[in-house]
Symmetry: C3
Subunit: 242 residues, 3 copies
Amino acid sequence: MSDTYVLVHGAWHTGREIEPAAEHLRQLGHTVLCPTLAGNRAGDDRSHTGLNDAAQSLCDFLHEHDLHDVRLAGHSYGGMVISRAYDMAPERIRRLVYVNAFVPLPGECLNDMVPPVYVGLFDSIAAAGNGAVVLPLPIWREAFINDADLVLATSAYEQLNPHPYKTFTDKISLKQPIHEWPVGKSYVNCQQDTALPHSLPWHPRLSERLGLFRLVECPGSHEVWFTDPATIARAIAVAGRD
Amino acid sequence: MSDTYVLVHGAWHTGREIEPAAEHLRQLGHTVLCPTLAGNRAGDDRSHTGLNDAAQSLCDFLHEHDLHDVRLAGHSYGGMVISRAYDMAPERIRRLVYVNAFVPLPGECLNDMVPPVYVGLFDSIAAAGNGAVVLPLPIWREAFINDADLVLATSAYEQLNPHPYKTFTDKISLKQPIHEWPVGKSYVNCQQDTALPHSLPWHPRLSERLGLFRLVECPGSHEVWFTDPATIARAIAVAGRD
Amino acid sequence: MSDTYVLVHGAWHTGREIEPAAEHLRQLGHTVLCPTLAGNRAGDDRSHTGLNDAAQSLCDFLHEHDLHDVRLAGHSYGGMVISRAYDMAPERIRRLVYVNAFVPLPGECLNDMVPPVYVGLFDSIAAAGNGAVVLPLPIWREAFINDADLVLATSAYEQLNPHPYKTFTDKISLKQPIHEWPVGKSYVNCQQDTALPHSLPWHPRLSERLGLFRLVECPGSHEVWFTDPATIARAIAVAGRD
């Protein structure tokens, strides 16, 4: 069956870096689109773009392409964005797929779910960067893309873009907690993802905030988009189907 | 080496649904039997059948077939039944294999190991169902058979039978705690099994009640019997061997 | 790229038992050495050899072979030894790889990270064994080498040697806590390793003491050296590369 997927990238990324996974998902017969959110496009204002701006740009994208019955997948920070987008415009969305993604309670910001040591680091980087945050290479290499060799880790790092930090500190507005939403929900957990430490993990700590949800797991780091796009595509297809 | 396995189904099942896994286990050279417990047979009384009735029917089965050196595997609710059966008649059993199964402390009932939200749900379903409990399809599809496509999830659901709820609330009688039993014990953990939430998991929460035990893991949901019978058969063979 | 690996065995082992994995690692293009630590050699004094003696013998080995840019991997007890060795002679070491290994805080001994029931067992065995501790076969078979058949479990057991218990009770001297060390660090977690119970696990409980580190996981028990040397070799190569 041909389904419609929209894949929403994480912080520091654009839609282009997840295109290899999208292409594998298309080979499974699906229609797949990978928009780039407001705040991560070339020339976007990194100092003032917030979570609502990013979510609005996603809703606009769904509207402009007149998409229906969308399986909306968000990676990492993208979990904040798809959550806010569903709150704003649920009618186009058939299932939400969180891919090692943040699942906020009403009123939480992304930083509320992150170890304090990361928040302190981001604070200082953003203060020095005019509101834009970048990820230090050693953290990227060891904790985000631990399954890559150094060549791939480095080339992937060079594709990242400075991220508008306001999107990490804006508290999300949700009319209902997510576990009450009457929509299908799935969580894809990449098992070696240590972007959040496993003592404060993605799953089940954040996944179970979805209420009734479907768990899918696969091997891989937080950046499996680069290291094994075929595997993450298959996992998303299993998570996104009816 | 040819060993004798008896596979004990979980709630809502009969021996027939685990026959595909049994057949794979036979292809590995073993003798395998899949009895259906009292309470889950066509025409059984769903209102009054309790845990002792189910365990007695298993002991009767072992006796009638004059089985010895049995590797006795129980799935889910089947963990209650094999535990009670070993307490009643240990002499025929060489090793106990718990397959994402409940491991009770003396005096516990199955519901004591389940999240309160499930207990409340089961209470209300059983009250409306004359003592029989059925599993709502959305929970089955998302949390029990998350690795199936919708066609398989639905066809498997149609094979289930109403379960006598008294077996979930009867407190088990055990002369000794299980960790003291002088018999080989194994635990098979299907890694994507979310029938119990991973914040309140099968393993290690329940498995470690076995004391010294052998851990075997494989990919799959709680209903891997339907989705990957070859894999669960191999895992049981590794768990059940000497 | 050809890198230099030194693989440091765990308690009860010598370098010889990890040679099959070393050979796989050599086939990936690397130089690999497997010294046997002081205390585990034939004829070594099991009553008085302590952690410093073992670590000194490792430093001597690195010096005698004039090794540089070493990827130093330690298994289990070997984590204590590579930690002490780095503290003594960091200049030859490029990366530390802990393979389901102990990661001590300054002043801790190995026994401080082990369940009290094991400490009590080891105490009584060592008291009866003139300071040498051996592992009871049932624990070895079920909790250490759960993925082996009985023939392999038994033949592997016969290769073990009595271990100097003082190395488990000597408190480690470290000038700095490990998480502050300016060297690359990786943790390899064999997923079915129940030598430590999963309620008190190797990862993330001990791994996260490394601070920023690279996680690599693979299937297998604590004794994957015997049961799947190719898999552990590949995992070490991914953990040890730059």
